[in-house]
């Protein structure tokens, strides 16, 4: 079964700093890739997804992610974070019917 690794458990940034959260997966076949966000006290919601085509995917709220097949990676980026981006971020991989999530990265943005 595939697995998902998120390297950073907790990231602390100041507003306007750039963000990159790492995500690697282990699966040799075709995968679909996702980033979800969970704001404090709220449900998980989708930030962006990759199924095929352009490996650079743009999502909501200025986030983007790049699928690098050779590195089995799908890192999340944002050029300039805001205080409202404080949340937990989850990378997820789908192959076939199952869907697996990483352990999550907690992002704290200082105003």
């Amino acid at each position: 079964a595939q697995s998902v690794s998120q390297h950073n458990h907790h990231v602390i940034l100041s507003e306007a700093a750039s963000l990159e959260l790492g995500c690697n997966y282990s699966y040799g076949g075709t995968v679909n890739l996702f980033w979800y966000v969970q704001y404090p006290g709220q449900h998980l919601q989708l930030l962006l997804k990759y199924f095929s085509g352009d490996p650079l995917v743009k999502g909501i709220k200025g986030f983007e992610a790049e699928f690098i097949k050779s590195k089995f990676s799908f890192n999340l980026r944002k050029p300039s974070v805001q205080w409202s981006d404080t949340a937990e971020y989850f990378c997820a991989v789908n192959a076939g019917s199952d869907m697996r999530f990483g352990a999550g990265t907690r992002l704290t943005v200082k105003p």
Partner: protein
């Protein structure tokens, strides 16, 4: 539009008691259904998923079980709860080649 319901929202149960958490989906047919447990620092742990009525795949051997008696109903059960079963349980649904949609979750406390 599709909606997903989970109940109860919170539950406090003594060790050794049975458990039944229910999840229902409206507005779609033949969805893939999932149960996850979310724990701090461990992300979302996939417990069970189902691609159809009566079809259950178990990911983590433990004292929990799942059933899908109807197309849009997914039940998580236990005959005897353990302290370690405490956590936040999330139900989700998805169609093939699509993202997952999450329910509001059930906070289970085993005392």
């Amino acid at each position: 539009s599709q909606t997903i319901h989970q109940w109860p929202a919170t539950l406090v149960q003594p060790v050794g008691s049975p458990l039944s958490l229910e999840c229902t989906v409206e507005g779609t047919s033949n969805p893939n259904l999932y149960w996850y447990r979310q724990a701090a620092g461990r992300g979302l742990q996939l417990l069970f998923y189902s691609v159809g009525i009566g079809q259950i795949s178990s990911e983590v051997p433990q004292n929990l079980s799942a059933s899908r008696p109807q197309d849009r109903q997914f039940i998580l059960s236990s005959k005897k709860l353990l302290l370690s079963d405490s956590g936040f349980y999330l139900c989700a649904w998805r169609r093939e080649q699509d993202e997952q949609y999450f329910g509001p979750g059930t906070r289970l406390t085993v005392t």
